[in-house]
Amino acid sequence: MNPEEYLDRLIERREHGEAQIPVINDEIAACLAAAEVLTQLQEIDVPPELAGHLELHIRARARQNGTTIPMVHPRSPAGSPRFLVRRTLITVLGIAAMLMLACVGMLTVSARSLPGDTLYGLKQAENQFTLTFATNPHDRVSVQIGQIHSSLIDLNTVVNGERDDDAIRLALITVAAKTNDSRRAVAALPAGSERDAAQRELDGVLAGEEQTLRHLLDHVDWLIRLALTQQLGALGDPVPTVTHVMVRTQSNRTLLITLTGTHFAPNAELIIDGRPGGMVSQSTSEQLVAVISDSTWFADEHVFGVRNPDGTAAQMVFDGNDHELDQPGSDHRKYSTPTPNSNFRDE
């Protein structure tokens, strides 16, 4: 046996923990020592962060490669007219494919966009596009109902993501629009089992919408609360409305505020300019009476509102310029029906 094979046998015996055989010379002993140093490298551990990070990269790259379309090489000889035509065609097709991929990419990104995002308009256009190409009225209704669901998810996301009021308002407007469109579309279906089925589907989604809106009432500020209440009212929920505000000055330098409306709940609060205020002295489902100190009356225009314990709310603007406040016993009235615009008047 030559020294090289003898060395390998020694290495193998050591690897398998077998009994040692004598080392025949110094050269082999030195080689064994070098092999041992190399084996010591196995004591080095790979940093777990590197291993984890790199694995993620590899997975991502593997997925990317798994979907890559293999490149097609032209078979015509280079320089021939057929080759040139083919190359032009391939270039055009390549550009078209890239454009298509870019469009698909944008649509994919826009599909995940939220109200307030740059691509949200594209998402809405895509929704409209889908709707236009629905083949029959029943499919159209299904698409519309699906879009209510999608818009509710967006609303929930923007509120939970603490986006600004404009984004939340846009999301809510979209929910309201989709709800109205779906209702109209279901009503336009011919009477029969298909319409009944669509109505049941819609009722299910609207029940979910009501639940979502009520849940969100606890997570929004005053103005958005008013808008959510209005949408709940549009769904048919009994929500408060304010139809009449009366402010009367009293002899003890206090003001008596009387709000008239509908669906005031027991323990409803008076809200002045978006904040709780005054002491409620009397409350029925249609009237709320409260007293405030006239020292707080420092501006001409105020917004009076009511907030029910379930979080629903309504308000109405009162303009003091139209009335005299200094006369004890004088009666200042303003009649109005709240509208979406009046609710957002001070935005």
């Binding site: 080392v23 092999a35 140093v37 590899i58």
Partner: protein, 219 residues
């Protein structure tokens, strides 16, 4: 010997058929197969790169590049045995390491370190996770020196010799498998292994030490 036991314990044997199946799946860009190959080869490539470069920051870049090349070029791998896979990967790693070394050399020509700072800066980033070394600064210092010497010694070997010694002692491959991959007779691979280890021993100053030790033993 403790180190030899570690060597055998850490390498779980995978049957030739199973490994060939994994390679075939990986060629089809199967995510799990690629990850399995990566997990299998990562310790070997990382240790080899660390031995050659000695700097954790460079090693991470090189190792990342090696495995990204693996994912991209797995279709080009003809071998289906583990030894062939390691040989292929080690050749990729050698290329990346050479590039990193050239890059560092060029940068160092432009940057003249203050006296006494070079050695510390160069190896401060080496992360040795062996707990017995971390807790013993003297042993850790010696280990770093050895690692530096091993890196230089490995760099002095031919590509073929490096594939043999790394495949043999870090990846746990047999002479017969390496011979098949390299298209040589096992005897020829034994000769290459002998020469490589001999060269390493000389670089590491082991020849003299073991000679002394050997003489002592005989006496």
């Amino acid at each position: 010997m403790c180190h030899w036991e570690v060597a055998t314990d850490n390498r779980k044997t995978v049957s030739t058929t199973t490994f060939a199946q994994v390679i075939r799946q990986a060629r089809r860009h199967d995510e799990e197969a690629l990850v399995a190959l990566y997990q299998r080869a990562l310790p070997v490539i990382y240790r080899y790169a660390l031995a050659r470069l000695g700097r954790a920051d460079l090693v991470e870049d090189v190792v990342s590049e090696v495995f990204l090349v693996m994912v991209e070029s797995i279709g080009e791998l003809r071998a289906e045995q583990e030894a062939g896979f390691y040989a292929w990967l080690l050749q990729i790693a050698q290329g990346k390491i050479s590039r990193a070394v050239r890059h560092v050399t060029r940068s160092e020509r432009r940057y003249i370190p203050l006296p006494g700072t070079y050695a510390t800066d160069h190896y401060s980033a080496v992360e040795l996770m062996a707990t017995d070394l971390v807790s013993n600064p003297v042993a850790l210092h010696e280990w770093r020196e050895t690692l530096e010497e091993v890196g230089l010694a490995l760099g002095s070997l031919s590509t073929e010799q490096q594939v043999i010694v790394i495949g043999r002692f870090l990846a746990g491959q047999k002479i017969e498998d390496l011979a098949q991959v390299l298209g040589k007779q096992p005897g020829a691979v034994c000769v290459l292994q002998f020469r490589a280890l001999n060269a390493l021993a000389k670089h590491l100053g082991l020849a003299r030490r073991s000679q002394g030790k050997g003489k002592g033993e005989r006496a």
